[in-house]
Symmetry: C2
Subunit: 280 residues, 2 copies
Amino acid sequence: MNARVFVGERRAEAIAADDRGLAYGDGLFETMRAHRGGVPWWDAHWTRLAKGAARLRLALPDRNFVRSQAAALLEGADAGVLKLIVTRGSGGRGYSPPMDAEPSWILSLHPLPSSPMQGLTLRWCATRLAIQPALAGLKHCNRLEQVLARAEWQDDAAADRDADEGLMLDTEGHAVSATAANVFALIDGRWATPRLDRCGVAGICRDWALSDLRAEEIRLLPAQLESAETIFLCNAVRGILTVARLGERAWAPHPQVSALRGRLAAAAPMFADPQRGILA
Amino acid sequence: MNARVFVGERRAEAIAADDRGLAYGDGLFETMRAHRGGVPWWDAHWTRLAKGAARLRLALPDRNFVRSQAAALLEGADAGVLKLIVTRGSGGRGYSPPMDAEPSWILSLHPLPSSPMQGLTLRWCATRLAIQPALAGLKHCNRLEQVLARAEWQDDAAADRDADEGLMLDTEGHAVSATAANVFALIDGRWATPRLDRCGVAGICRDWALSDLRAEEIRLLPAQLESAETIFLCNAVRGILTVARLGERAWAPHPQVSALRGRLAAAAPMFADPQRGILA
């Protein structure tokens, strides 16, 4: 991994042992698709980060400085995933957030995940998402629920260990998202996606799709997803992901998803995947 | 802060930038009272840590090695707080927990908090605890709820900024704990403390008090706390903490709490505070 650590506007050797990100997950992150040395959706990612920082009352480093450091890290990279973690910085023992701490932040560059050659196979996770309006929508660093959910099907013993992603319900039984992607469903001719006012992460690609599809944000039951005309997943690294199967339910490729992928590729050429024809 | 970082059984310069503790709060911690160069409640802390590690399927470093390193750090220290953080270690991008990662861990030594000269003043926090049975009871590193709750009254502008601690409800309205302590209440002549099967941290001193008082674990409503004959807080660093006030409600020192503090001091001399007479 190619990573650089900073405190405020100073490059640092490493994250301090008393960093609040490490102690409490007291931070936020963004996972961004890099393309031809830049981050086409930079503004949307920074806007979400700033909203999260306002909610957590956490200081952000200077936006232009972060962007210039990102550009330096991305130099020569044609495609990849740029991850930014921002924490509240160093602090004493105890939950009380330091009011004057400089944020710590890490930029790291990772390879693009491989493109799936066919529609995804999904499963239902047993791990639920807790209902916490104070943190809902944010891409914060308290992610044990996702870690537990993802671990469910990575054992050799897991019957569905070849599943590509898992869908999660909240503790009241509504479908919320995949572990690392949002979900949309075509129901009675209209697009819908779960409301994220109580849990879940408000994805950048979800925003794009919401607007493009004029989709509705609803409380979505698992049975509605399973009986939908089609469903897809999306995130800012992989774009729109066709779904072929969810448990027992199978879907053929759907022309509306194919058309959506085409519109996304036109709006954001980084998602113009040569394998798109196979998937759509 | 006096801190030492390790990976498995090797001393490390620092926590790696790709540590899962930093990325996802994917870790556990213990906050222990050190006394005369040792940690009298070490066994209880390690037992809780091991339970948490089993639930999260996270590898622990060798117990004896950690203990010997703790002893080295505590050498010459008469009293203090020893904090141990254990994370899942380094991992790639993505929630999938690495199956073969060596745990990272940090030992740090901090000064004892000052003993309150009188009973504590408590407030109610607006931030709620989410209901998440999969993580309930564990002292894991996803602590944004506590950070948000503690921040509520640290502003200069906060009307109750002199409060000593804040009590938290879960999202269904039951009282659970203070931000960094458990709570007990004397109701109709019997001791009770909130059940922690859906959220909250099962404290080491809570275990001691549960057993000593033969207290009941119940779903506790805020009104029951406010109308209790007396209440107290407890944690493994500060022992039993007398409460004088909760919002509008005031309590005089209660002989049963005074007697409990005496029994704790007898069982664990580190809690034999010279100011006990004042508090009880």
